[in-house]
């Protein structure tokens, strides 16, 4: 089981990547920051970073404005 943003849960599958999790959650918005167990995953690594069972994923939306 994977926990997303401290609340949503998703069944874990062997070989699952950050991209797979984002797709399963229906994320299509590219402007996000993702951490895996508290460590940043760079955008270019979403497709290759494996998500272990029991992982905590945090997704921050990046909205324009400053």
């Amino acid at each position: 089981m994977i926990t997303i943003n401290d609340r949503e849960q998703l069944d874990w599958k062997p070989g699952m990547t950050v991209n797979d999790v984002l797709a399963a959650l229906g994320y299509s918005y590219a402007l996000i920051t993702v951490t895996l167990n508290g460590t940043l995953v760079e955008k270019e690594d979403y497709a290759t970073t494996r998500v272990p069972d029991g992982a905590e994923l945090t997704i921050f939306h990046l909205a324009h404005g400053g």
């Binding site: 920051t33 951490t35 921050f60 909205a63 324009h64 404005g65 400053g66």
Partner: protein, 211 residues
């Protein structure tokens, strides 16, 4: 420096904060308010980076004045923080920050405040900072648009990354000083909290000269 400035400060706060350096990436609606709040709290050093000059359209939310129009933001902001009189040291860089320069530009910073307006820039700044300094916090903002909805503003954290704002509202809604400054002050308040935990209560002892 007039020490009386800090007579109403939180006890012990300035002693720690004066040893801290904070980097500010962006000196607009977020960055101006963060810089002023940190200065009033007694921060020791600021590193200000922004390429822009002050435009009339900035004055609805950014802490600049008619007399600043056409001036580099970093220069105008340095004057404002210096005028408070806390003795804060301010390094300014009037430049368009690039991803590859983040590590070097903010090498002395104990903490970075993300105060950009474009979401794409927020993304690469966070990546560059976390890659260069995986043990130092970054305090970012997302979701500051519109007005009201104060109780939707919050802090979310994961590891070294901290976000202030509602996470959703964007500048397409328009930007209002009251809400932008609220989020900026959430960033400043969180930065102070993080620095109070990270900075030593007393300066390290001077090493004795060897005979």
């Amino acid at each position: 420096m007039n020490a009386s400035i800090f007579t109403r400060n939180v006890p012990g706060m300035r002693d720690r904060l004066q040893r801290a350096t904070v980097g500010l990436a962006g000196c607009g609606g977020l960055g101006t308010h963060v810089a002023l709040a940190l200065t009033r709290a007694g921060i020791g050093r600021l590193i200000l980076v922004d390429h822009d000059i002050v435009d009339a359209s900035n004055l609805n939310r950014q802490c600049y004045f008619q007399s600043d129009l056409g001036r580099p933001k970093v220069v105008a902001l340095r004057e404002q923080v210096a005028a408070i009189g806390t003795g804060v040291a301010v390094a300014v860089h009037q430049e368009r920050l690039c991803r590859d320069d983040v590590g070097a530009r903010f090498a002395a910073a104990d903490l970075l405040v993300e105060a950009f307006d474009q979401a794409e820039a927020k993304q690469w700044l966070i990546e560059a900072w976390c890659r260069a300094y995986p043990d130092r916090p970054i305090v970012a903002a997302s979701g500051i648009g519109g007005y009201g909805r104060t109780n939707e503003l919050r802090v979310r954290s994961s590891g070294q990354i901290h976000f202030c704002g509602d996470g959703v509202s964007d500048m397409a809604l328009g930007l209002c000083a009251a809400r932008v400054a609220l989020v900026a002050h959430m960033q400043a308040n969180l930065a102070i909290e993080l620095l109070m935990d990270r900075m030593p209560a007393h300066p390290p002892p001077r090493s004795r000269p060897t005979a």
